[in-house]
Amino acid sequence: MKNFEYVRPATISEAVAAAAEPGAAYLAGGTNLLDLMKGGIVRPNRLVDISHLPGLDRIERLPDGGTRIGALVRNADLAHDGEFAKSYPAIAEALLSGASGQLRNAATVGGNLLQRTRCGYFYDPASACNKREPGTGCDARGGENRLHAVLGWSEACIATHPSDFCVPLAALDAVVEIEGRTGRREVTVEALHRLPGDTPEQENVLLPGELIVAVRLPKEARTFSHHARYLKVRERTSFAFAVVSAAVGLRIEQGTIWDARLALGGVAPKPWRAHAAEKIVEGCVPDAATFRRAAEAALADARPCGDNAFKIELAKRIIVRALTLAISETAERVAALPGSPFAPVAGALHAS
């Protein structure tokens, strides 16, 4: 593979300085980056290994009731943190539905936010891909695109964002803390990723060298803990990316939904918050017709980019299902098959 420089900064400011150079990439868990490098999809000149930076691996309960997750917290550690899983069950379920046990042990929270698409044309350096090589075109258009986007795509790019973790984060108004050369700033997870438009290579709003140091859940996020689900549909029971997924959080009092959060995964180039659908169910007594109306609203702008019209109908059905499941009190334990529509099976994957 291409020779590269490997640096291991001691502080965040050293890291930011080292990564601001063109061709530099941050290395944390490496679960995505190393595959991309082996395949020649990305060819960095310098790897800035942040995995030893101090202080980024903590899960902190904040005085205002929020939670701050260090960027180097491993997916598995976060999902298996009992207090965290109880407060944010949909996030724990999303984390546990992703990848494999080995990958979850290595993958980090910060890296997970920035994982690249699974579009086969992006992974095939011989194919035209505007995301990989701006201006070359998009071979996924007119190609094998059964799993591609139905929302937010452009003529330049129809790839989806593959993350499970980001979906409930977007639903719960999570905030990303970013460290850069000019200091610290914050954006919401919803605003972190860009839609492709004419520049699909620009996947997020990070500037060169900017480093995600933490993800913060605002205090409201835990008010959904009693009615929260992550539902993930895929053809294989585990170790597969979502065809479509949904994260739902509801605040229900006296039989009425007062507050609703809903986001979709696998349908768009970014985790897709469905604000219009939330508005429809808010203030309502849960019922199937309302949920279907919400689902229709969430997918109102959807259109197939190829051989994937089924994903629009599937997404609607998943929304209805996820809302329906979320009405019931959140289970004490994450199901043995996290995110699966199949009934929970006895046996917990983590203490709650």
């Binding site: 593979m1 291409k2 020779n3 082996k38 395949g39 020649g40 699974r118 086969g120 044309y121 992974y123 095939d124 350096p125 011989a126 194919s127 071979d139 007119g142 190609g143 094998e144 059964r146 549909v233 053809e235 294989r236 029971t237 585990s238 170790f239 597969a240 990316f241 065809v243 019209a309 089924f310 109908e313 599937l314 059905r317 998943i318 299902r321 098959l337 699966s340 529509p341 199949f342 009934a343």
Partner: protein, 756 residues
């Protein structure tokens, strides 16, 4: 050379009679779970260099430029092998001297015939340097449009399918049978391209010493590999030493030595140093074979009683543009159902892909999912239970040939499997069963069958002066348990406990064990072992019965029995003599003998020989979301004598899981414009993971077959896929009422059923 394989010693074990039939654990198990088992790529001879393939990104055309200078300028790169400097071969890689010789891409020219074909090899001090050297080659091409997919070129009738099977066969008049039928179905099924994907990619470590060649590489056929290398390089087979003690799976893709493995040998020749070449996962999608896609039309007729009147099974498959292998999918209809009229035929197209080759149950698996689906549709059309329909049309003789079966315990398989599964409670109509959470439940079944084949093998047996024994044959352990099962046969053949006997296998300097393929390895090499043992025991018996000092003197006519390191007089077991004493008195350090295993042509012409089974599947379906989960699989199999029930169950499970993969998961996704595979990795080429694998049971039905071979072995390597895939597809229909005829069955097939 260090000792090649050091297996866990077999502890003295309680044995009840024969070693054969005992559920011994794998003798190579400890080596494998501790990482001590040395696979080909684990070898690092001194001075070894690393080679990496540069592969074509186009499917058709020619390479017009390679930046060899740039690659060679990269630090660590030693050499770049291209058609310009590739060492000379004694034989044209495009020669086809017999049907079992497949054309290879060994840099003989600049032509590209499929994506992922090798176009150069970069050899470097490190794997990383060789990998970057490949990137720096930045090939340019003259590209022609790729022909991909079963409709991409003109179809023709191949001269033969599989290994020399006629392309079309018939018995009776199918059109008349269909015309006379009270009920008919006419349905077309599609199966995708599949790749073998062994866990261990093809790898080779090659070292030349003059004209002598030492090779570590996984092989399902050591002697054939040795012969192929000898022919290509113009050297004597005896000068080629191949070690293949363990394979990380092969499934047919390691049956013949592949182009990339030979390029490793060429690279070592070019640089004069040992070279290691390991295929990247994505490189397996092209040069090492695959299973062709198929489109199969089945027309079946039945009379008012549910008796079949005709089966017409037509398959369209593909081969490469430059070689012939035609998946004999329609042949699946030859043996199972007693239709008075059967016709099978194949047509084919030539595509810009690598040549498809043998992939676990080639033809049988592909044909079975279509046939078993169609039989299910026919049963439904007749308003009959699928098992009752199959029993109604049970074949007591092989339908296509009229030959009697050498043995066929399929009725028992149906009965035991059905009973175990609880099949009698199955409602006839679909969409009748739901679980406590409202998920649809479906029950389906399929019949499994695979021919009981034998090829040719040899073994050498030795009894040493101390009474211990040695059995040698170049057998192949692909993970199926050859190290264990053959040792069990050998111990019985030598009349020794396992711990008094050494079993050697896995290298090319041992007697030719044939090929681990066609589910025939245990039968073929097992018979060679059995016969070698019998021959060496006969020599001992000769010595003893002619030796006046032996208690067995004069027992020649009565005969002797070998057991526990002694010969016993058959008619008087109080008279016995130990192997050590027999050899000691004769002044011999050891005796040895060889034995052969081969099919009996007389028996083969008289009998149809097949293993059989019945598979019952339960699926749960969330029809709203299109999710399918197999919740139970019960298979009952009759496959002659079982040497090691633990290994056999494992083989059957593996096959049944592959059946699940065939029905629900596995497919290569190829871009129709470029001919490149887009899911050449384990994240997206999906095979079942543990969470997909339900409760499984494999029941072995006792079957004594006096005709297949003296040991009565039929083989279990491939049968598990057949029947299973169809059973699952039928269960999906029974759950949902939606008949999906394109495999694998996907979410979209249930969310938005398409019309067929």
């Amino acid at each position: 050379m260090p000792p090649e394989i050091s297996l866990t010693p077999v502890p003295a074990h309680a044995r009840h009679g024969s070693n054969i039939g005992q559920p011994l654990t794998r003798r190579d198990g400890v080596l494998k779970v501790t990482g001590a088992a040395r696979y080909a790529a684990d070898n690092h001879p001194p001075g070894m260099l690393h080679a990496v393939l540069a592969v074509s990104t186009i499917a058709r055309g020619r390479v017009s430029f390679l930046d060899v200078e740039a690659a060679k300028a990269h630090p660590g790169v030693v050499e770049v092998m291209t058609p310009a400097n590739r060492p000379r071969l004694a034989e044209d890689p495009d020669a086809k001297l017999h049907p079992f010789m497949f054309r290879l891409e060994l840099l003989q020219n600049d032509e590209v015939r499929y994506a992922n074909q090798a176009i150069a090899v970069v050899i470097a001090q490190t794997l990383e340097a060789a990998t970057e050297g490949v990137a720096l080659l930045a090939p340019k091409y003259e590209t022609q449009p790729a022909r991909v997919g079963l409709d991409a070129s003109e179809s023709f009738v191949p001269a033969a399918v599989g290994v020399g099977n006629p392309s079309a066969m018939h018995r009776g008049d199918v059109e008349a049978g269909l015309a006379a039928a009270a009920r008919r179905i006419d349905a077309t099924y599609e199966t995708p391209m599949q790749y073998h994907n062994p866990m261990e990619p093809h790898a080779i470590v090659a070292a030349w010493d003059g004209d002598a060649l030492s090779v570590d590489t996984p092989s399902q056929g050591l002697a054939m590999a040795q012969g192929r290398i000898a022919g290509l390089f113009g050297i004597s087979p005896e000068n080629i030493h191949i070690r293949s003690p363990f394979l990380g799976g092969g499934f047919g893709s390691k049956g013949l030595i592949s182009g990339p493995q030979l390029l490793g040998i060429l690279a070592a020749r070019l640089v004069g140093k040992p070279v290691k070449l390991v295929l990247r996962r994505e490189h397996l999608y092209g040069p090492v074979g695959h299973r062709s896609a198929s489109r199969q039309r089945l027309r079946i007729g039945a009379d008012g009683e549910g008796l079949l009147t005709a089966i017409d099974h037509r398959a369209k498959v593909a081969s490469s543009t430059f070689d012939d292998f035609f998946e004999p999918a329609a042949d699946a209809s030859h043996t199972l159902y007693a239709s008075p009229a059967i016709a099978t035929s194949h047509e084919a197209v030539r595509l810009d892909t690598g040549t498809p080759l043998f992939m676990r149950a080639p033809g049988e698996a592909t044909g079975s999912i279509a046939l078993e689906s169609a039989i299910d549709e026919m049963a439904d059309a007749c308003g009959m239970d699928p098992l009752a329909f199959r029993l109604k049309n049970y074949a007591d003789v092989e339908p296509i040939s009229g030959k009697p079966f050498s043995s066929k315990a399929l009725r028992e398989c149906y009965a035991r499997g059905a009973e175990h599964f609880g099949w009698s409670k199955r409602p006839l109509a679909p969409r009748q069963l739901r679980d406590e959470n409202g998920l649809l439940i479906g029950w389906g079944m399929g019949t499994a069958t695979f021919p009981a084949l034998m090829f040719a093998a040899e073994a050498r047996a030795v009894v040493r002066g101390d009474g211990s024994g040695v059995m040698e044959t170049g057998a192949h352990d692909m993970g199926q348990g050859a190290w264990t099962a053959f040792a069990q046969i050998a111990a019985d053949a030598l009349g020794l406990d396992l711990d008094r006997m050494e079993f050697k296998a896995g290298t090319s300097d041992l007697p030719d064990a044939g090929i681990a393929g066609g589910s025939a390895h245990t039968a073929t090499a097992g018979m060679a072992i059995h016969n070698a043992g019998a021959a060496v025991i006969a020599k001992l018996a000769d010595l003893a019965t002619n030796d006046q000092r032996s208690p067995l003197f004069g027992a020649g006519n009565a005969g002797v029995i070998a057991r526990d390191g002694r010969l016993f007089r058959r008619d008087d077991e109080t008279r016995s003599d130990s192997y050590a004493d027999i050899l000691g008195r004769a002044g011999l350090a050891q005796v040895e003998a060889r034995g052969k295993g081969a099919a009996d042509p007389a028996a083969q012409s008289s009998y149809a020989m097949h293993a059989h089974g019945a598979v019952f599947a339960e699926v749960k379906v969330d029809s709203d979301l299109g999710q399918i989960r197999v919740t139970r699989l019960v298979g009952a199999f009759a496959a002659g004598r079982v040497i090691n029930p633990r290994m056999v169950r494992s083989q059957i499970f593996g096959g049944m899981i592959w059946g699940m993969s065939f029905a629900l998961h596995e497919q290569a996704i190829m871009d129709k414009r470029s001919g490149r595979t887009l899911n050449a990795n384990f994240a997206e080429y999906q095979v079942p993971v543990n969470a997909d694998v339900p409760s499984m049971e494999a029941l072995m039905i006792e079957e004594h077959d006096p005709h297949v071979n003296a040991l009565g072995i039929k083989g279990v390597g491939e049968i598990g896929i057949t029947g299973s895939a169809g059973a699952i597809a039928n269960a999906v229909w029974h759950a949902t009422g939606v008949r999906v005829r394109r495999f694998p069955i996907g979410l979209d097939d249930l969310v938005m059923p398409r019309s067929h």
